[in-house]
């Protein structure tokens, strides 16, 4: 498993901007986009729900979301 990760790490972009609350983002994935995948429903709507939840959390934390 870790060997795979080591190979994949070559392809990861180091320019990706990480959020200061990735824990919430990953957990919320299961309830939005992950749920859409599991139930085979609309993945775009799931992605939208994921984005909305993350934006809402960020606003609650005092960030300005544009």
């Amino acid at each position: 498993m870790n060997e795979k990760f080591a190979q994949i790490s070559e392809t990861v972009s180091p320019d990706f901007g990480w959020l200061p609350f990735m824990d919430y983002v990953y957990t919320n994935f299961e309830e939005t986009l992950g749920k859409a995948f599991a139930d085979k429903t609309d993945a775009v709507a799931g992605l939208q729900a994921w984005q909305d939840a993350c934006a809402k959390y960020a606003k609650d934390q005092g960030f300005t979301v544009s």
Partner: protein
């Protein structure tokens, strides 16, 4: 050993002098009081440090709001207002109400049935049966959930394998509707034995003369169970019901562990306790979690009180 024997009569005479001269304590009496307080002191130190202080601190935290940008500020009862309108929190409470209405009667009913069957004395291998029903309670909840999680598993569990071999597909243990019943089954398996022992102990304390009198009057065993045994253990039944109500609203271990197996079915807010945990440790919002924990405590107290009240009213009527 000799000192205890020697001191017993002296203590008795001290007690009689203390009654005669109430306001003035003798030196020996005062020493006894001192010893009593010294003996309960460790309990109170731990009780205050581990119960009262954290409770007060949680109550204090629940009145604030912490943001990544802006830091901590006083929020008054805002967190409580947020919780009672939070659809996730309310859906968790509602789910536990469904759980309570379906699971608790099944569990108490089966526990009562087993307790009566064991108490009737008409059962072969009674001792073995009693032990084997009670053993699941001795299994830690985490281990029990892992075991059931394996049995339920749609990809690897034995039921899924049998179902697939017969061409029926895996049974719906982890579907959105099936999950609640799967958890109910685990909780039943764990706690029927415990409730059975409580009820069985209550049954053993009934005076056997009552049964003899009933038999002389020509009552059948079922009539004895219904008219003598069940009314006599009403206090024990009430106790098991209240424990079950409290246990239901505190449901956490089972959904938390099954979440790794079915993360899209059990959300972060499946039960109120699970939601408070996720809000505190994933969303990093300890203030809101503290407010929810307090609200949950109040809900549990109200429901336990209502159960007790209705039982008392029933007793007065009969």
């Amino acid at each position: 050993m000799s000192t205890t024997v020697g001191s017993a009569p002296r203590a008795a005479s001290d007690a009689s002098t203390a009654i005669r001269s109430r306001p003035r304590l003798t030196a020996a009496r005062r020493r006894q009081y001192g010893a009593a307080y010294a003996l309960v002191l460790p309990f109170f130190v731990i009780f205050i440090a581990m119960m009262i202080v954290p409770l007060v601190y949680a109550g204090y935290l629940s009145l604030f709001r912490t943001k990544l940008i802006g830091g901590r500020s006083f929020a008054g009862l805002e967190n409580y207002a947020k919780a009672i309108t939070d659809p996730l929190f309310l859906s968790g409470v509602l789910r536990m109400c469904v759980f309570l209405v379906v699971q608790v009667p099944i569990m108490i009913g089966l526990a009562l049935f087993f307790a009566l069957a064991l108490d009737s004395g008409m059962m072969k291998l009674a001792r073995f049966t009693r032990l084997s029903i009670f053993v699941p309670y001795a299994v830690p909840g985490v281990v029990a959930t892992l075991m059931w999680g394996y049995l339920y598993g749609p990809d690897f569990g034995p039921f899924a394998q049998i179902g697939t071999a017969l061409g029926l597909g895996p049974p719906p243990f982890f579907t959105p509707t099936g999950m609640l019943f799967s958890i109910m089954n685990i909780v039943n398996w764990e706690f029927i034995g415990y409730n059975m022992i409580v009820l069985y102990a209550a049954l053993r304390s009934i005076a056997p003369e009552l049964y003899e009198a009933a038999r002389v009057d020509g009552a059948s065993e079922i009539r004895i169970a219904w008219s003598i045994k069940i009314p006599a253990i009403r206090a024990g039944l009430l106790l098991t019901v209240i424990f079950s109500v409290i246990g239901t609203f505190q449901l956490f271990t089972e959904p938390q562990l099954l979440r790794t197996l079915a993360p899209t079915v059990i959300g972060t807010a499946y039960t109120p306790n699970l939601y408070a945990y996720n809000v505190a440790f994933v969303n990093q919002d300890a203030n809101y979690a503290a407010a929810m924990a307090f609200l949950l405590g109040i809900v549990i107290m109200i429901i336990s009180y209502l159960v007790q009240l209705s039982a008392q009213r029933k007793e007065r009527r009969s």
